[in-house]
Symmetry: D2
Subunit: 306 residues, 4 copies
């Protein structure tokens, strides 16, 4: 991570394979990491929203970081989410990430009492000097209630941020970020919304953190490459598949937890890892599981190494 724009390409927000609320699915973890890396991804993001970070105990999060970093073994850069309502907790996780050999940490807004833009900047001013690793920002207003202003992101950059992942779903905002930082090509603009990957890359963005890359890493890497080349025909072909993921996998539920639940259920159907979802959520029940089995069987671009 020493070159400019070190954060780029497809960086899947990896799910956290679990056997229960307190146990990692170690076998699943290994299979999942191999599956993802074999797809050609450019990095892995541990303990983001899709990784259920806030739902796991610190102990489990730490254990997971160590195990995942050990399996990944520096084959790709690793970034680790440290977002937490407790700064003590964030710093503990950051230290573990550093000790385990991760490359950077990811910071979103503390998310219980609403935080203002100015308070967020003050928080970063206090937190950043204590971090043992470089950091990137993460805009996730649907979970944190803070839609980080471009000004806040600019201040984070001044404090050393490597880039920002935006999962607001607000493309006009993402375009405003790109416009703001167009003269800083080493500040990574990373999109979380799968459907906006070509838009992001074509207009100057650097990468994506697509939950779907847990299941289809190669597809997303191909889309990233096609987008970098501006190959509109190829983009259109791949885009059809992205839409299928939405229609066949994510749309099985309509709740805020749908990405977590559906990706884990699909990975389980694909034989990659356990479908257990940590409290406060639960895995899909039998009916939705059957629906998923059926839908998965209709997908003709499964990436399964047998």
């Amino acid at each position: 991570m020493k070159t400019t724009a070190s954060l780029h390409g497809i960086i899947p927000p990896m799910v956290t394979p679990l056997l229960s609320n307190t146990e990692i699915d170690e076998e699943g973890l290994i299979k999942l990491i191999e599956h993802i890396i074999s797809g050609g991804v450019h990095g892995i993001f541990l303990l983001g929203t899709t990784g259920e970070a806030p739902h796991l105990s610190y102990e489990l999060r730490k254990e997971f970081i160590k195990k995942a970093c050990s399996v990944i073994n520096k084959r790709v850069p690793v970034v680790v989410g440290i977002t937490d309502t407790s700064i003590t907790g964030s710093l503990e996780i950051a230290q573990t990430a550093s000790d385990a050999g991760a490359d950077a940490v990811v910071i979103s807004a503390p998310y219980y009492v609403s935080i203002s833009q100015q308070e967020m900047v003050e928080y970063l001013e206090y937190l950043v000097p204590q971090l043992p690793l470089p950091f990137m920002m993460y805009n996730m207003p649907s979970c944190t209630k803070l839609h980080m202003s471009v000004e806040t992101v600019r201040k984070a950059k001044e404090l050393g941020a490597l880039g920002i992942k935006d999962s607001s779903g607000d493309l006009a905002y993402l375009y405003a970020l790109m416009d703001e930082f167009k003269d800083s090509p080493d500040f990574s603009i990373i999109v979380g919304t799968e459907l906006f990957i070509p838009e992001t890359i074509i207009n100057g963005g650097h990468g994506a953190v697509p939950g779907g890359a847990n299941m289809f890493p190669r597809l997303f890497v191909d889309l990233y490459e096609a987008s970098k080349k501006g190959d509109i025909t190829r983009i259109a072909e791949l885009r059809e598949k992205i839409i299928q993921i939405d229609n066949k996998i994510y749309s099985i539920s309509s709740e805020g937890s749908k990405y977590i639940k559906s990706i884990k259920c699909a990975l389980s159907e694909m034989g990659i890892c356990n479908n257990f979802v940590s409290m406060p959520f639960t895995p899909f029940g039998a009916e939705k599981q059957n629906e998923m089995k059926q839908n998965i069987s209709e997908i003709d671009f499964l990436e399964i190494n047998k």
Copy 2:
């Protein structure tokens, strides 16, 4: 807590006096508890929103529960917030509360990924049987993004909930709760919005959890008593003072964190405890502190034991 409607009256959501992000202001804690109890309150709520619970490490929360319960020493019932995104964390705090002699725990919705009404019920069905203490519900949509439906509250009651504290600021909802549970007089309806205390008590509610009772416990107890008697004249007098608290203390800030910051600042001006506010927030700066000093000096109903 063995009689019906055990939760009632004024139950201040106590602030957590701190010297730093990791140290309790022990002297302040003692003074604050004595101040509150001498005001005649009917209970104390530890580690709610005003108590900055999600911002404190588990270690600090546990230490705080033990110290506070020890100082309170069963003089009034104690309820302890266990709301957390991690169920492991919630159970740890609940166990500590039980060991320390608290009377009940308080549960709001896990608050990172949005939880649906049905998911909330499933969460309770899993959590409640593992609790070492009775529990009450806490509706706090501005922080948790879940405005618990009357149906969800009804299911919580079926699972054993002692009552519900509502801090939605939505009086029509509170009235709907009262209507729903009017034949269950032992199910406590508790309001968090200070201005709605008379409305709540007159119409069948049982109590209030007013942040302002950290500073003015007697005032709120008086208001509760006047409301129970339906003494409209006395209510009107006391109401004027409640409005003054809003105008002179809370309105110094307009951020989501304003109650935490302003109550701690006021308590500090009143000589009761330190004004330190835990990250991700910070205490008021000099300017707002001076404004508070001035405003406090204009309040003629300060309750300070010299």
Copy 3:
């Protein structure tokens, strides 16, 4: 309307009885006005939200004002809604109201493109000098998208407003208005939310504009009187009936149009006027109509003069 606080008491927002999108139900109009006036109301509000004003052509609105004023015949004060996206339209309606002998007009925010607080004040500065009648303000954010700030209301008062009707459902806001204008007892604070009538009157408000008073004028007048006296026992009795109206009449639908549709349906079941609802809405279909018939039959406080 020459005394101070001329606007007070129960001022029903009268529905507009219709036979079709272009025809008034004249017979129903007469019966409805007699029904309402015989209930002892203190005024009538024509062409508000419940009156479907924006859905009616100007021609129909003008015809309705003339007919209604003629039937009312100065027995109670009449206020007329002139809210419109077109200022030309507002002024035309105001002139008709004046010619027909109405006492005041009612102004809410123009409601297509969102208007800011400052733009609302500029609009009033331009509109008010051209009005042929006194005016009152109407805060209706769910329809207009503007929640008028206390500051905007203060400026409206400086421009001559007689008072404000608040239908935000936000009791804390209503209390803030009362606090702001407590030294101006002739500035009428009127509530639109039926459940908040006692709260409003007891704390210094002047009246209410309850849609339910189309059906139950006497009930609301009784509630107003009991509230003025601070008769808590009587208020509690009457409040039960207000809750029944909500449970048995309004709750038949959950759409934004539910008050219009359900009140017209109930009035039709009570034999008072036609149930036709103007486009873009339609009357309840057979199923909901039957539900209403059943529910109405269970209400034991119907006010029908046979």
Copy 4:
């Protein structure tokens, strides 16, 4: 308009040049139409949001339709907004549009009382058979409070809609529309958000209704053409200019009325038409006008015929 996908390309939502709240700026109207048509646009949309339709009296709207259609004189297709809270008003405007030789009408949701998806469909079922012209839908949730579901749009199509203009700013929704109607290439998908024009056209959409095309018709036509060709380099060049319009023109205000006010102010600075804005809004004051003058002078892609 007899071929399939008749609605396509750049269709500016023309401002309504005014001298006052009741008078058309006839000279400005002629200059504006010539300016727009000379830019190569594919149609003109009269009386949309940017055209201040709801703020104008019916009389003025009718006069404007006649004058504008007469000047346009069939050189490009004309569509006319008939959105109104009164169906009588909508039908009157539609008849005038038909008589004046317009090609289609545009329908959004009636916008005072919130309308539900089902009510919107019922409204269309009643309205459409009475229309003298073909119609297209217009999704404008920020003004109407209804974000038309894909299902509602599908039903509108079954009733004969030619297409839909989406101004939600929600690109994921727009993509969902394109996916839904990908097998109906004659159903026009038109975007209102200027920044999303390439995204729309590249992914199967048909056109755009950009307010900025009042000022820069050729620029938007060029962007449309480049997007049709998938010419990524050219798109990137033109996109820079679209961003400049946002930064230099629209950003002068931050209110909901900003597009109306800033486009009229810019057109006035460009010598094309009067800057008068109808009530409830007002033209920019001197300060903002000067800012616009300065900003306009810095734009190097002005399209002015001298």
